[in-house]
């Protein structure tokens, strides 16, 4: 299944992402990991929170598909999960919205012209 199809099939997922990012610490984690993979301990250190707290936040971020973790030797590394937020899906939605907006403008333009014509009669 493509990422776009996966996103379309699970609209609740977006709510999960927003809920996960509604927390300041989780936003900070996500911003850091979006810049590049980070170890769990590096995140804990950078944000000044305990490993236990970081682990709990990571569970939420993993649950909605924003991040995933993998073990490399004795360290756990966090990476952005591409399935979480699909830029392509955003792009398709953006494209459709763009056309909806255009047709709104066309509708307004035709109404304006119509009124002008009636005024001339």
């Amino acid at each position: 299944m493509t990422m776009a199809a996966a996103t379309l099939a699970a609209p609740d997922r977006v709510d999960g992402i927003f809920a996960a990012l509604g927390d300041g610490t989780r936003r900070a984690i996500f911003r850091m990991v979006a810049e590049g993979p980070r170890t769990v301990s590096a995140l804990a250190q950078a944000l000044g929170v305990s490993l236990t707290a970081i682990t709990q936040h990571l569970r939420v971020l993993q649950g909605c598909g924003l991040l995933h973790t993998r073990k490399e030797g004795r360290v756990r590394i966090c990476e952005v999960d591409r399935q979480g937020l699909d830029a392509l899906e955003d792009w398709i939605a953006f494209n459709r919205q763009m056309w909806e907006r255009r047709f709104d403008a066309l509708d307004a333009m035709l109404r304006e012209e119509g009124e002008g014509k009636r005024g001339e009669d």
Binding site: F18, L85, A87, L88, D90, W91, I92, N95, D107
Partner: protein, 159 residues
């Protein structure tokens, strides 16, 4: 080497306009009229818009997104060709779109018009191949930025 994937998407928009088909069609055929509803907008500045309304004629446009949009400062370019024109009834255009100089989609845009009781029904079918593959850092970055923007707006609305 990673495989570049294309994703396919079709959407349809049905609209009814309070105007006869000839007037609606004219809004697509006349470059000045089309520019007004198609190219102008609050989210971007129009850097270029030119069209030759004939089969084989081209439609070229370029927009620069304003701050506060999903792609602030980014150049969006569309380049297309009219494949079919039936006056008052149908327009088919094939068009590619680039964002930030990178071609990301090709689309077939079909507009069908039918008039009834002074109104015009339009069906717009947008069939696209999106070239964004498994790895598209620029697009993905734009996606993240958009998410953060939406989130900030959401949070501001709640506050």
């Amino acid at each position: 080497m990673s495989q570049a994937e294309a994703t396919y998407n079709t959407f349809i928009i049905d609209r009814t306009f309070e105007a006869p088909a000839a007037r609606v069609f004219a809004a697509f055929a006349d470059p000045r009229s089309k520019r007004r509803w198609f190219a102008e907008g609050q989210s971007h500045d129009v850097e270029r818009f030119a069209m030759q309304f004939e089969v084989g004629g081209r439609e070229e446009s370029a927009y620069r997104f304003r701050p506060g949009t999903p792609f602030p400062g980014v150049l969006l370019e569309a380049s297309g060709e009219f494949l079919d024109i039936v006056p008052g009834q149908r327009i088919v255009l094939a068009s590619t779109m680039s964002i930030g100089g990178r071609r990301i989609s090709a689309a077939l845009q079909s507009f069908e018009f039918s008039e009834a009781g002074g109104q015009t029904r339009m069906r717009f079918t947008h069939q696209a191949a999106f070239f964004e593959g498994a790895d598209g850092p620029a697009m993905r970055q734009a996606g993240w930025e958009q998410l953060f923007g939406q989130l900030q707006a959401d949070l501001a609305a709640q506050a």
